[in-house]
Amino acid sequence: MADETKETGEPNKDVNRRQFFLKLGLGSLGIATAGTAAFAYQYLDPNVLYEPSPVVNAGKPDRYPLGSVTIDVNSGIYIIHSDEGYFSLSAVCTHLGCMTAWKPELNLIACPCHGSKFNEDGKKIEGPAPKPLPWKRIWLNDDGDLLVDRSTDVPALARDSFVRV
């Protein structure tokens, strides 16, 4: 070190050769680690999902008599025909994602996993569910079929949340 000082004619700087290479090595390792972490995250985050479409065809409205609550287990939605019109509720419990069921004898929607209860407007009657069952966007297509978009929530009991036929 003393020799280096003599050769260059400058006083010793903050880092000597060993410290420089140590910092260079650790820095490179850090950058490589961060890059690997980013790479791994991106790799494990799917870009394309082969999941069912969020839009479900629920068929002709006359399948659902007035006052009926009908579940489609495969798509996880209720189609309900009330006095105000047709509307759709998510059948997925807001607690931990179990499939709820309509209990006609109790006139309510109940979850088999942890006992949450909702009325037919989706309003929470009993926990542990933290939130009411969300309403889903429902409309008629040109063929006269009811379509439900499971990815779009609409306000409960709002005028536009019903389909009138």
Partner: protein
Amino acid sequence: MAKTIDQHFDDLRGTRVWRSIFRSGTGSSTLKRALAIQQNVFLHLFSTKVRTRMLSFSATWYLGTLTLGTFLILVATGIPLMFYYHPSVPQAYADTKDLQFVVSSGMFLRNLHRWSAHAMVFLVFAHMFKVFYRGAYRTPREFNWVIGVVLLLLTLLLSYTGYLLPWDQLAYWAITVGSNIASAVPVIGEKIHFLLLGGNAVNANALLRFYVLHCMILPLTAMFFVAIHFWRIRKDGGLYSHDSEPATVRANAVSSAKPAKEGQ
């Protein structure tokens, strides 16, 4: 005069092939026996000497060793199960039923795997309670307690990921509920849920991810930590013995507990 079995074994241990594998050589002197442990890649994790009283049932109830035993059974039964199981949505449930009802000894292997998994969770908890109530987690063994907590989590994750693989209703809804619990983590919860399942719902990606976690990542991670766990027993002074505590600690413990069983 005919040689005894021990003499035959000594002859075997003297052969050139044997000596090329096990360097410690023949003889049963304390040194040779210590070398046999110390020079073995697997056994060198352990102490070369153990106090006789620490090998008594009452000292540890053998809970750690039994846990290792169930883990080895799970590896030995899990690998054959992998030969018949496809981690895909159309086949997983059918393969599970085949293993149960069609494959020779399939039911035996599957049940042994299942019961050992239950036993391992029980034994891990029992082991931790025993260590806790004996005070064996204290200095200098705090770090090994932490390793033990990691192993508890790995055991539970192994149970959880294995639960999905039969792909029946119980599995599907249990994993739906369990993965939704992960979404409760603040800020990144939804992302964890998405990455764990490889999608928004329990589906083909989730089944494959749980399979890889269950059969590769988690067992290898567990083996890594088990090796550290065993090595630390030696490094921390061997199995915990109450007699090795300082006199003041012993006196306190004796005055507050029944002294009759002192020293195990």
